[in-house]
Point group: C2
Chain length 550, copies 2
């Protein structure tokens, strides 16, 4: 067996080492265009900020380590120019000498990754405009920061962009974020990003939503970014973080099947349309494991798994990739945002039926010091209760709950299973009713009909005269410091004694701060014959929508 | 419907509030022997230490809050003396006035909890010997510490005992722990408690394993605890934390069916042998959801769920309890230990077939500062790979991994599913290959036969002359600072060139620090025709066993 692997970072390196463990005598050649293999691309922003102080920490392994330990023929600074599928050969160009030569293969694994988008805008090639993909990029960016850049403009508020923002701010650089959509972190639902936008504002970051860069101009002090709105941003350093495109040129030129988003099409064994060629990582199109639809998910975890699976299949095993859930996490100063499965906007786009709930629990027992509030959103099938997606944002414990829910989605669990989950409880770590249990109670109560629920958007988008009779069941003090417009205040503890104030012939909507007192109020009203529903997630959820609208 | 609930802490309070949400017009009487309802019993040790500074934080709710918000008839300081099942009445004694009276019921829920064991030893009633169950107990203990107790003896190294130890040490009290078994935290497997014993030693705690208190004597300076071995311990304060027994007197006297361990028998609807009487919480016997065998699990999370389920069934719903997994967690200074599902010792006792693996990964990406090592142990079915149990110990990220594995066990997942889990990865939170993925890789590799594994105990318990040929594949430097007795050193990077040094006719066992290089070495040897296996979890696992043996 002669196995060639194109690309030596996450998927390619995983495939190569797995291949060697499966076969001591295979000839395995790993070809990488850059000078490094298997570097920690997810750590690059933290090297800019100095959190990761030593550059060599970013090298997960070196070409020499792979040669010695895994008996791999590692060829860095080598670009693969073409694939000749008929003769099963690839053409390799040694980038240091310029020499080109052919290498034959029995099997070929493509793991070239994805390249940051660099739109052809006026001035895009001016010095000081960078993307961030590899160690050479990060060296350039860090060098500018070290030399005292004053202002940086980030174009794109995705994961890498926001991670860079945190690190620029830590270095004392004035930072402006320019994002085309009307929210940061576009894979998330908009209201869930409200705390992130607030966090950016609190740290002095200028956030420009609904804006895009149209042109870049050199000035005496650096660069001016011209925006579509006509506004301008001054910066000495511009980072483009507007997304990536699969490095599909090699595959396209070889006539391999390509998906609608530019990703190489593979089957569950990671095989392309040519049975001797596999592809893994950011270059491929994957199936979303919740909706089943094809998508691009450039993440390191899936890339590693795919590399492993491709190697298994090369050596005659029948490993299958199950699809990608899109589990992702962002740390942004003191906030963490994480998600898994489908977002609400994705479900809407796919016209897939869903219901949703919000809870705002503390990350551990409230009676133990240091409890931090989080917002947890759950999306689920309205008939079966099967989990479709989850998002959370907060100062602590977010990663744990999304991991738990990622497993629940993987297992095909329902909201009823969440009620029964038996999770770690001691007051420093969780609660007797964990946030995940709480989310399960609310969602299951909704599906059982115990707990009719109105989404706040549906209330706010209804003309005022058609809205339900709105009751704020919090205390008078809570009510006076801010309420949903149009609500009257009847604290839940007084509700039973004031039922005569309520209309019998009109839908009633109640809410409290997070939903719990509203739930009790809904139960009281229903049992007294009123038509009542709780506004899901209460005033806190209203505020997430309200603040994200401005 | 007239519903009486006996006991107002976790299970009882949950049942009462759930009942009210299900029925506005039911008459619901909550009878509690103590002065408080629904207090945070898991927080008591941290009130002693001062971490929880205000006593009222421990009151999750008050009788008045339950009366106002949930229209409950709450009767504290009231003891239930007997149940007359024929006439469906209970006899209640008002502990403040001494008055006794009867109360009839349609349905009765028993939630009296469990009482700390207080063995009848000589001197057991001397002043200064306490158990910890409620706020009155904690007041007494805290008062002694506040008044300057110098030495405390903890009898029993279970969860509550060790939590108290941490808090006594924080208060500057010299602490001795006396534990009957040969390890701390007996629900865990012994080797997994090695880091906890080390942590206790590092904090200056005197740990006496395999010891039990035989008698207590008054001295001029306080108390002397006489141990079975003849040794003595001086202390001014003694806490008994040797376990609890279900408060089953009421149920026993009423002729309800009781299990072998003293817990009230209930069906999946939480119904006792009398269909009008339910029981929940620490007083009942539950089924272990992994082994199916009856057990006692005094934990707040399950108690809350059971209370909810009992109330559902009282009001005609058909909620079912799925059994208890025994998910539990302990924080001990800078260490966390957590478990879910069956322990190895439990599986051995139940003669249930299993295999096990150990991994020692960092809690997040090693290239990001602050990564802490943990040890994660997985127990699984040798045929199907179904997860049976998991335990972890380390300085960070332990709760998250055990929660993830608790869900995996709940879902009936296998070690092959762990390989595919898509968990949150960003370098502050995890790794592209999360500890749970790593455990899955090792366990799945073992079951697929890719990765034959020897448990270190089986090597150490084999007579020296029959042991496998033992190779330490770490570096010479690692080898020189400590190795498994009898091993020779061939670093994995040299192994391919030194195969001629190895016996063809003898089983070879390799090991490295944590198992990963050992895995590669095993693959190399197997493919060159040697009979080889990896010692699971490597030298780190050996040390856990080795240190726990002394």
């Amino acid at each position: 067996m002669k196995l060639l692997i194109v690309g030596g970072v996450a998927g390619g390196a995983s495939a190569a080492t797995r291949a060697r463990r499966l076969s001591e005598d295979a000839e395995i050649i790993l070809i990488e265009r850059g000078p490094d293999v298997s570097f920690a691309n997810c750590g690059l922003p933290y090297y800019v900020g100095g959190e990761i102080a030593e550059r060599n920490k970013l090298l997960v392994t070196t070409p020499n380590q792979l040669r010695t330990r895994f008996k791999l023929d590692v060829r860095t600074q080598s670009s693969v120019e073409s694939i000749d599928r008929a003769t099963k050969k690839i053409r390799i160009k040694d980038l240091t000498s310029g020499r080109e030569y052919d290498e034959s293969y029995d099997k070929l694994i493509l793991a070239p990754g994805a390249a940051p988008l660099r739109p052809s805008l006026p001035g895009i090639d001016l010095p000081g405009i960078f993307t961030l993909r590899n160690l050479q990029d990060v060296d350039r960016i860090k060098d500018r920061v070290d030399r005292g850049v004053q202002q940086v403009a980030l174009v794109g508020a995705g994961f890498i962009g926001l991670e860079l923002v945190e690190n620029f701010v830590k270095r004392g650089v004035a930072t402006t974020v320019i994002e085309l959509s009307d929210q940061v972190l576009p894979p998330f639902d908009k209201e869930m990003t409200t705390p992130l936008a607030q966090e950016l504002a609190a740290k002095g970051v200028t956030l420009m939503l609904g804006e895009s860069a149209e042109a870049f101009e050199q000035t005496s002090t650096g660069l001016t970014v011209r925006l579509k709105s006509g506004r301008t941003v001054s910066a000495q350093l511009v980072i483009l973080g507007i997304g990536v495109r699969p490095e599909n040129t090699l595959a396209t030129n070889a006539g391999l099947e390509i998906g609608g988003r530019g990703g190489v099409r593979v089957d569950k064994q990671m095989r392309t349309s040519d049975p001797d060629i596999y592809a893994v990582g950011d270059v491929i199109e994957v199936n979303d494991s919740v909706t089943g639809s094809p998508t691009q998910v450039p993440l390191a975890g899936p890339a590693n798994r795919q590399g492993r699976i491709a190697a298994d299949n090369v050596f005659g095993r029948t490993a299958q990739y199950r699809g990608t859930q899109g589990t992702a996490i962002l740390g942004l100063f003191d906030q963490t945002a994480a998600m898994t499965g489908a977002s609400e906007k994705l479900l809407k786009k796919a016209t897939q039926p869903y219901r949703k709930i919000y809870v705002h629990p503390a990350h551990h027992a409230g009676y133990y010091p240091g409890a931090k509030a989080m917002t947890l959103k759950l999306l689920f099938d309205p008939k079966t209760g099967r989990l479709l997606g989850a998002q959370a944002v907060g100062a602590a414990g977010v990663d744990k709950r999304i991991d738990v829910l990622a497993v629940a989605i993987q297992a095909g669990m329902t909201v009823f299973d969440l009620e029964e989950m038996e999770l770690c409880y001691s007051p420093q770590y969780g609660s007797a009713k964990d946030p995940v249990n709480m989310a399960g109670f609310v969602a299951a109560g909704l599906l059982r009909g115990d707990h009719p629920q109105l989404d706040i958007e549906s209330v706010l988008t209804t003309p005022v005269e058609q809205r339900p009779f709105l009751i704020d069941v919090r205390t008078a003090q809570e009510f006076s410091s801010g309420a949903i417009p149009g609500a009257i205040n009847i604290p839940v503890d007084e509700l039973r004694g004031r039922l005569n104030e309520l209309p019998r012939d009109r839908q009633i909507a109640v809410y409290c701060q997070v939903g719990q007192r509203g739930y009790l109020a809904t139960r009281i009203l229903l049992q007294h014959g009123y038509s009542a529903a709780n506004i899901g997630g209460g005033y806190k959820t209203f505020k997430l929508f309200d603040l994200s609208a401005h």
